[in-house]
Symmetry: C2
Subunit: 268 residues, 2 copies
């Protein structure tokens, strides 16, 4: 039994993936809510022991076909060079998956809408990818990267939004060692354009779905919103639509669109 990984005290257990290794028996395991953990700890403290009864209904079903959903604006100068933005379609469906990752899905689609709205004709192909199966195996992200390699699609940059629809705080960047230092230095030249909005560029993780693109030498970026509330909602029945603030969500999409625009226009 694990205490859910949240600083908030509430009644929502946080679900997620359990990984077994080959050396241990496949025992049942569960995360309990923070309030339940407080009660259990108190019971053990007072009485020295506690008996817990838990009813679980989760099961692993056979694989079925599923799909990434892809839309793009073809590049006018370099149609076979891609700037990819994305989030993931699947969620732990105890809730709506609103912040994880409905927000990233909406923002990624919105980047294309915003670029079209201002009448911008991108030089590179701007591709929005809504990845499938991020939470439980990364099949969508792996298949996307395999297809990109098979088709010799050059990925300039991939940006993922998978940290919630909160106020923008910046972008993190990572990539193949051989190219990262140079590319990150070029991105840092753009950072002053984002700083007036309270955004910083840092070296750090990008996103699970785009991580298989690392071997293509693409620069990988993670959209970084304010992080204080994400793990209150993440993987719980409380990750519902009403927890997303429309303006904060839109600011994230606008930030991603601005970064895509700059990379497209001025190159890496």
């Amino acid at each position: 039994l694990v205490r859910s990984m949240s600083l908030r005290l509430d009644d929502f257990p946080h679900t997620g993936t359990l990984i077994y290794d080959s050396t241990h028996a496949l025992i049942p395991a569960a995360a309990i809510s923070t309030l339940a953990a407080e009660k259990l700890s108190e019971a053990i403290r007072v009485k020295g022991k506690a008996t817990v009864s838990i009813q679980m209904s989760c099961q692993t079903l056979p694989d079925v076909p599923s799909f990434n959903v892809i839309g793009e604006i073809r590049g006018s100068e370099r149609p076979n060079e891609f700037i990819t933005i994305g989030g993931h379609l699947d969620s732990w469906d105890v809730g709506h998956g609103a912040h994880d990752d409905g927000a990233g899905v909406v923002q990624s689609m919105d980047v294309l809408r915003l670029l079209q709205r201002i009448g911008y004709k991108p030089r590179h192909t701007i591709r929005c990818v809504l990845f499938m199966n991020e939470e439980n195996g990364l099949r969508g992200g792996k298949a996307y990267a395999a297809e990109a390699i098979r088709k010799a699609e050059k990925h300039v940059c991939a940006i993922e939004s998978d940290a919630g629809g909160f106020t923008p705080r910046g972008f993190s960047f990572e990539g193949d060692d051989a190219v990262f230092a140079t590319l990150f230095q070029r991105m840092k030249a753009l950072e002053p354009l984002f700083e007036p909005y309270g955004m910083k560029f840092s070296k750090g993780g990008s996103g699970a779905d785009i991580s298989p693109l690392r071997s293509t030498k693409a620069l990988l970026s993670g959209y970084q919103p304010d992080s204080q509330r994400y793990f209150d909602y993440h993987h719980t029945a409380d990750d519902t639509f009403d927890k997303v603030n429309k303006r904060e969500l839109e600011l994230g999409a606008a930030s991603m669109a601005a970064l895509v625009y700059l990379i497209d226009k001025y190159g890496l």
Copy 2:
């Protein structure tokens, strides 16, 4: 009729102060919700005119005595030099006044609690002032400054939290022209200690309640949390306790305590 000053579309009218000048008749006035304003605009657009029926129950009652609430930790070296922190007790009571300004009240009290909790003995007197009547005349702030001047209390710095209990983004500073440039420069030397937490120090407004202290040459500071949600709730029936995130609120109190500690320990 005024459209409420919010970017959110909802049914909450935002209340506030109406100021008449002597050259115009005292006509009734009201703010309507953003959704009501959309409906009204649409009706006028379609039909060319609209008839509105509004029932209002607000009234101005005679003055009654009310009070600032003050608590302090006496300074060990300079007890008659004050670092003041505060928020305001009164609110537009259509809601709880949770963000405006219950958050500032709780955070200001929490600064004293945090300094005591770590066993810190301040050099200056650290004073928490919960101001009365911010929303409707600033009587508490004016009376506090008048008393400070009457008692020759030297105010080194005053910090107000009155922008909601959201994630910390920084502090703004202002003050008497003759002293501000020097004091702000000294504060900027502390800014690198806050930057890792995404906080910046800027020149700008502080807080209504502490503004009458400007003439005492005190440095005035406003705690600046993330601003995206404040005007969704501000002055509405929706400014309720459940809209405050405990961790975001605590981070604000911790930020204020850190600033007070640094000013107290190293002086201005």
